[in-house]
């Protein structure tokens, strides 16, 4: 192949090559923002019709929207940003996707090759800046490498444990010409993700599961990413064992099923956390025993249990908790094999042990750890809003959330029955994701109901996207649980800093209704519990309108149950505990 600045027959420009590659990858949306280093790319983009470009109002939102598009569909999300500030604005989005293992390709412009290292205008070492928060990254130095590099980028992003890949392309490379051919497949000797699990280990796991007296299934974001929900349901049904999902795994197992014991972890249910602590056999699927899930690892390990861990990423296994039966493989493939083994197995689970285990779990359930005082007729409880949201949307909505108390209430009270419906930043905990996440979901599924559950702190971190929603007519419903506090910060200050509410109060809020209206959206203030349901019905009845719902909620409500930092799963504080606030104070000690 030949490369030059003069176009020869059969050659196209680097920018056009990028368009062709995106077409080959069947990309439907590119979320982006133009600038000097990507002008050639935007010019090529102008001339193509294969995908739609969504012009955001801030590059962070472009990456978040592409990330949510991926979470909702399972496809690779694509974002395009310019060099320098465009690239650094994208970094929070990239790190957010990285922490939650979301497959994405982020194309960033770079200053011309000759200017690299010269502190050129809008130069930043994007490969260096993003190295710790990408699965991999590339700097392209030759127009002839564009196609193969993009092919690798999509392959790496989507295979194995998925993650974001950054492709940094200097401006001159996008203007040069080369022949184009897109490789059908790509092989890399340094990168060969495993798919099938070790069959001996799988057999051993099935045997241990069948011998269990107090079994527990714990599934996480990896199950959702690996599209293994059906396999998990089949397995759980065949065994009759209890299932809990992590924050990232919600919807992986249906929340309304009777074997589901709720979310576990820092704000998990009493039954989920106690069953996790008390079980004798634990099957962990696509979950990583992180600090918000098992609390204090020493406390967790103080009880003996046999742990089986299925994960596509070997480095997730035995990282925080030593496991007995590691199975490295794609969760869908491994669970499928386990189901096949179970089907041909004559041995059945121990029915009488299981019966008494369920009796114990039902005992924990009677604590009703998610109950709250909903008696007031003047103050709206945030939990109530989410319960009604679930009813009004019949449990079918895509629910995105920001980060804070509202996120935990959305996770606790919206019963997700399907995977890829709950879209939140679990790993990085990035305030500001909610609205761009909702954009990604609405574009992925234009007819679907999309609710963005947010706080007045978080929504202001990407509020500029109200304008993008206007431009692209996205009928998102914003459910703002407005408590006039950085609520989650305030809760910790109440519990652990003797009510010193240092900088956690939100003063000078905008009039959200007027703000929404100024973009041509519908705004609603909801101040009374009696109005919640009607307002939600009205909002969702406006199928083609963006509705911003400002719910004035109880300022002092806290998230319960809660496992304080450093404590064990069975040491949780419940909302029904009359001394709950003192209990929290004491714990910090």
């Amino acid at each position: 192949m030949d490369q030059s600045n003069q176009q020869k027959t059969g050659q196209i420009s680097g920018a056009e090559i990028i368009m062709r590659c995106l077409h080959e990858e069947k990309v439907k949306f590119v979320f982006g923002y133009p600038g000097g280093a990507v002008l050639h790319i935007y010019d090529a983009l102008f001339k193509q019709k294969d995908f739609k470009h969504i012009l955001v109002r801030h590059e962070q939102a472009a990456v978040h929207a592409a990330d949510a598009y991926s979470r909702a569909t399972g496809e690779v999300g694509v974002a395009l940003v310019t060099s320098g500030p465009g690239a650094t604005n994208a970094v929070t989005g990239i790190a957010t996707a990285y922490m939650d293992s979301v497959p994405m390709v982020v194309i960033s412009g770079q200053v011309p090759t000759a200017a690299i290292g010269m502190d050129a205008f809008q130069e930043v070492d994007m490969v260096g800046v993003t190295r710790p928060c990408v699965k991999h990254n590339f700097l392209i130095k030759d127009v002839r490498d564009i196609a193969i590099t993009l092919k690798k980028a999509f392959y790496i992003a989507a295979s194995g444990r998925p993650g974001p890949v950054v492709v940094d392309i200097p401006k001159d490379i996008t203007a040069e010409f080369a022949e184009y051919s897109y490789p059908k497949t790509v092989e890399m000797r340094s990168y060969t993700p495993v798919i099938k699990g070790h069959s001996g280990q799988i057999k051993k796991a099935v045997k241990i599961l069948l011998d269990a007296k107090r079994p527990m299934i714990y599934s996480g974001g990896g199950l959702v990413l690996g599209d293994a929900s059906n396999e998990l349901i089949k397995l759980a049904k065949a065994l009759g064992y209890p299932v809990t999902n992590t924050l990232m795994g919600l919807g992986g197992y249906p929340a309304t099923d009777k074997q589901y014991v709720g979310m576990l972890g820092m704000h998990g249910t009493f039954e989920a956390n106690n069953a996790m602590q008390d079980c004798d056999v634990l099957l962990a699927v696509g979950a990583r025993f992180d600090d918000r899930v098992i609390g204090n690892p020493d406390h967790f390990l103080s009880v003996p249990r046999t742990i089986i861990h299925i994960d596509v990423d070997p480095s997730s296994i035995s990282k925080r908790v030593k496991v007995d039966v590691p199975i490295v493989g794609h969760v869908q493939s491994v669970l499928g094999e386990m189901n096949d083994l179970l089907a041909s197995e004559t041995k059945k689970p121990d029915a009488s042990a299981l019966k008494s285990w369920w009796a114990k779990i039902d005992g924990w359930r009677t604590k009703k750890s998610l109950s709250y005082d909903g008696s007031s007729t003047s103050i709206i409880k945030p939990q109530y809003v989410i319960e009604k949201l679930w009813e009004v949307t019949k449990g079918n909505a895509y629910v995105t959330s920001d980060v804070g108390q509202h996120q935990m209430w959305a996770a606790q009270y919206y019963k997700f029955d399907k995977p890829r419906r709950w879209i939140n930043s679990g790993g990085l905990g990035t305030m500001g994701v909610g609205l761009p996440y909702a954009m990604g979901c609405q574009l992925a599924d234009p007819k679907a109901q999309v609710a963005c559950v947010t706080g007045e702190g978080s929504i202001q971190m990407n509020i500029q996207e109200l304008s993008t929603c206007k431009q692209f007519h996205l009928p998102i419903k914003v459910i703002l649980l407005n408590n006039r506090y950085l609520g989650m910060v305030r809760q910790w200050q109440e519990f652990f800093y003797e009510n010193r509410y240092s900088e956690s109060y939100m003063d000078s809020l905008p009039d959200f209704v007027k703000l929404a209206e100024s973009y041509g959206h519908v705004g609603m203030d909801i101040e009374k519990p009696g109005d919640v349901e009607g307002a939600l019905k009205d909002a969702f009845a406006m199928k083609d309108r963006f509705v911003f719902m400002n719910f004035l909620t109880d300022q002092k409500e806290n998230v319960f149950p809660m496992v304080p930092n450093g404590k064990g799963l069975s040491e949780m504080i419940l909302g029904s505990d009359p001394n709950k606030d003192d209990a929290a104070n004491e714990i910090e000690g």
Partner: protein
């Protein structure tokens, strides 16, 4: 415990910084790190001397394997291996010291590779602990300068790290 980890990686720009970045981001120790191309110009071989509990070493190996550019990783401590390091030491060599330095160098099988009016430069190869022992045998005040390459390692017999 001290471990010598050997790895083969794609000889690409930035590959070294991915490994170095991994160690600093995850708080792993690096005692030394050496890297150079192999007979196959597309591959670099790196030797990392690190220390940590078995769990930490297991994580280090897994995390290294996870790097997209890394082709193969081997913990040399998993089997019999040879470790070698090169050191150059410039020592004071005046008066009586001229004989004294030559004598110590001979004991450690060093070679004097540069002779000047007031100094010798001694070349020494061996395991890290042998080089340490040499430095300990010298009076601190006679050492003018030391430079060490960091360890390289290779498995014994048919333990071979190759793609």
């Amino acid at each position: 415990m001290k471990h010598i980890i050997s790895l083969l990686m794609e000889n690409e720009a930035g590959a070294l910084s991915r490994v170095a970045g991994l160690f600093s981001a995850r708080g792993y120790n690096i005692e030394s790190l050496t890297v150079a191309p192999t007979e196959d110009a597309t591959l670099s071989r790196m030797t990392i001397v690190t220390s940590g509990s078995d769990d930490v070493i297991e994580q280090i190996i897994k995390q290294l394997n996870k790097l997209v550019d890394v082709v193969k990783v081997l913990d040399l401590n998993d089997g019999r291996h040879i470790e070698r390091e090169l050191m150059l030491v410039k020592v004071k060599a005046t008066g009586a010291l001229r004989d004294e330095m030559k004598r110590i160098s001979d004991i450690f099988r060093g070679r004097i590779i540069d002779v000047a009016d007031g100094s010798y430069t001694i070349e020494l190869t061996g395991s890290g602990s042998k080089l340490d022992a040499f430095l300990e045998a010298l009076d601190k005040t006679v050492i003018l300068e030391t430079v060490r390459t960091g360890a390289s390692g290779i498995g014994r017999g048919d333990r071979i790290l190759k793609v």
